[in-house]
Amino acid sequence: MKNYKQHSDFESGLKPLWLRAQSGNELAYQEALRLIAGRLRSYFRRHLMNLPDEVEDLVQETLLALHLHRDSYDPTQPVSAWVLGISRHKLMDLYRRRGRREALHEPIDGLEDDLAAEEPGETLAKRDLRSLLEELPRAQRIAIEMTKLEGLSLTQASKRTGVSESAIKVQVHRGLKRLAALVRKEPK
């Protein structure tokens, strides 16, 4: 019962933020991702008892996946269910990559498997996304650095590089997709 209440609190806090984020509100998006990151951390911590070092990496990988697939969110569904679907998928993917026995059991919707729990603080990620960015093709890396790290607007970035705004947007998206693929491939 306590879990259920926490869970619905989580959803009712997250949903309005998420809907604003989906329609393009940057601050709402940040805040929503922070809320989600906290839940992911405790969710993965519970499921990776033997691999505590993997938790923060998986949180980052999942956030990247949520961002790249945010078009797949259906507003008639709870955001927390959508997040949980993708997080579970990421957890299974990690198990499979590790060839672990857990991979044989596809998770079923169960009570223990929800996003409701206290939030442990951020730990250090083992994998550094910043240095992985260096491995991207030049155009993608530059597009990401300018718009996503330096915070230039698309117009400014377009002026500086002489590339059209829509091309920059495409490069950013492709770059993040490539980054997500690198994250999955990276041997540790």
């Binding site: 329609s23 940040q30 990247l64 961002h67 078009d71 596809e106």
Partner: protein, 211 residues
């Protein structure tokens, strides 16, 4: 990079979320798959004589396939993203299948006793499901490929649904070349071929739909 920095980076100038291109991607893959199964059927087996298309036989198969396509593609679309419910789509697929089975049973009962076995088995029962599955493989490849670009998280089910859609497209192609004429035959052996393709998809799903 710290997680909080990543969050800032992801949110910065993210803009509104784009539309989910599920219909576009699946429709493109299905069209390719249908083209492939038709061309393969015509090239490998050869077209039926034109006169056959003035009889009911090929149309029974095509109508069955079109009705199944509605439910199976809805199922595949729903399994291409997390969470969405599959109850209605599954009910649609199952009811079309059961109706076809019923129609097959009725025609079989009204067939004179001596002709029932040949109505059920035709000339080609042993090859039909396999041929149908083989004709579906390009469609299966295309649909799994399209699904990978979306966001499936229930991989076995998604693979199975992709396989069913592919099987239905294979059935459409095969109906241009298949000489069988009885409803009971289609109800059993076409459904078997479609299910086989579904199982191939279910086996492939967790392997190829990872992201």
């Amino acid at each position: 990079m710290k997680t909080d920095t990543l969050i800032e980076m992801l949110a910065r100038q993210a803009g509104p979320a784009p539309d989910f291109p599920v219909g576009r991607h699946l429709a493109a893959a299905a069209s390719l798959g249908l083209l492939a199964s038709s061309v393969l059927a015509l090239a490998l087996i050869g077209p039926l004589p034109a006169a056959v298309f003035y009889t009911a036989a090929p149309w029974i198969k095509l109508v069955y396939a079109v009705l199944l396509l509605v439910g199976t593609s809805a199922l595949a679309a729903r399994l291409s993203r997390p969470v969405s419910s599959t109850v209605m789509a599954r009910a649609a697929v199952t009811s079309v299948f059961l109706l076809m089975l019923l129609a097959g049973a009725v025609t079989l009962i009204t067939t004179p006793e001596g002709g029932r076995w040949s109505a059920l088995l035709g000339q080609t029962w042993w090859i039909c499901p396999w041929m149908l599955m083989m004709l579906s493989l390009p469609a299966l490849t295309a649909i799994l490929w399209a699904m990978r670009s979306l966001a499936p998280t229930r991989l076995k089910q998604a693979g199975f649904a992709a396989g069913l859609v592919a099987g239905v497209l294979g059935a459409m192609g095969y109906s241009l070349a298949c000489p069988e004429t009885s409803v009971a035959f289609v109800a059993i052996w076409y459904s078997m071929g479609i299910a086989l393709t579904g199982w191939v998809g279910q086996w492939l799903g967790p392997k190829v739909l990872r992201w």
